[in-house]
């Protein structure tokens, strides 16, 4: 892994944690009543973080899975009983997303019975 790639990774991960701890802006008509994450300390900090995020998006190396192929349970022979899954039920249809596969892609974009969902962890 090149030095630059490694640096980018670190920035991305640390940036993610920083974002996880701060909700940069609250409010908006659809925001929940109790928005509890501290607001950014300064506008400069907020603008800086957002700019950094756009740079990172430009160089995103994670590979989200979109509309993944599905197989029946009987064909999922690579899964072990104790493997973790995120199970989703939509309109009576069950789908399982193995956690190790999600952890590789970070996000799975799928459509079940016409309803678009994003699976993440």
């Amino acid at each position: 892994m090149g030095k630059f790639t490694r640096l980018l990774l670190w920035v991305l991960i640390l940036g993610g944690i920083a974002y996880g701890g701060y909700r940069l802006n609250t409010g908006g008509p659809e925001a929940p009543a109790s928005a509890t994450i501290p607001a950014p300390t300064t506008d400069e900090a907020r603008i800086g973080r957002f700019a950094a995020s756009q740079f990172l998006i430009e160089h995103d190396r994670f590979l989200a899975a979109t509309d993944p192929a599905m197989v029946p349970a009987a064909e999922a022979t690579w899964l072990q009983p104790s493997d973790e899954v995120l199970g989703v039920l939509v309109s009576g249809r069950a789908r399982a997303y193995p956690v190790p596969m999600i952890s590789y892609h970070h996000v799975v974009n799928d459509v079940i019975e016409g309803i678009p969902i994003a699976v993440t962890y």
């Binding site: 892994m1 991960i13 640390l14 993610g16 944690i17 920083a18 974002y19 996880g20 701890g21 909700r23 940069l24 802006n25 409010g27 908006g28 008509p29 659809e30 925001a31 929940p32 109790s34 509890t36 994450i37 995020s53 756009q54 998006i57 899975a65 993944p68 192929a69 599905m70 197989v71 029946p72 349970a73 064909e75 999922a76 690579w78 899964l79 072990q80 973790e84 899954v85 995120l86 199970g87 989703v88 039920l89 939509v90 069950a94 789908r95 399982a96 997303y97 193995p98 956690v99 190790p100 596969m101 952890s103 590789y104 996000v107 799975v108 309803i115 969902i117 994003a118 699976v119 962890y121």
Partner: protein, 217 residues
Amino acid sequence: MLYDHQTRSLWMHITGECFEGELLGKVLRRADTGRHTTWRDWRQLHPDTAVMAQDPRWLGRPADRGYFPREGARSGDPFVPPQFVPTIQTRDPRLELHDLVYGVRVGAERRAYPLRRLPRATPIEEDVGGVPVTIWFDEAARSVGAFDRRVRGRALAFERDDEGAIRDRDTRSLWILDGLCVEGAYQGERLSPLDGLMSEWYGWYATHTDTTIWQRY
């Protein structure tokens, strides 16, 4: 955090809220039902389930530790590498950083149910945010179901029978962890899932600093 390809707005993965960008303030609706569990449990309850298929394009890429490492948030080790722990700024000592909790948001109330304190035998029944809720825990699968327990206008009470199956006390109908009644007078009924998810404590707390924590009475 997540971003969307269309507007590059930034989203919190725990809450589904857009916190920066063009879609600021928008909130994704949580899918009913999403449940974190084991393959054994899911397949047993839903034999007809489909499974996300392995994609040969991503199999065995050495730079990515292989496509399918058997790890997850519940492997027993903290999921965050130790060097990141000091960067967690929003902390609360009531629980350990990496304790697993099931967090729910009902009305204005946020409440965390620590997995290691949850009773194995009995569903928890209480009011949260003005709503009668029931919290079910399957210890073997380390999986939680959390629901509004009102059906047909009345709040049901649940218990485990001798075999560990979930039944309502009223009609002895049989329910599964996804909130579906599969046998008995309520067959076909489905409890409304709460807006909730499994999380390590630090993540739940950072996004819900006003959370309460369930304790055995």
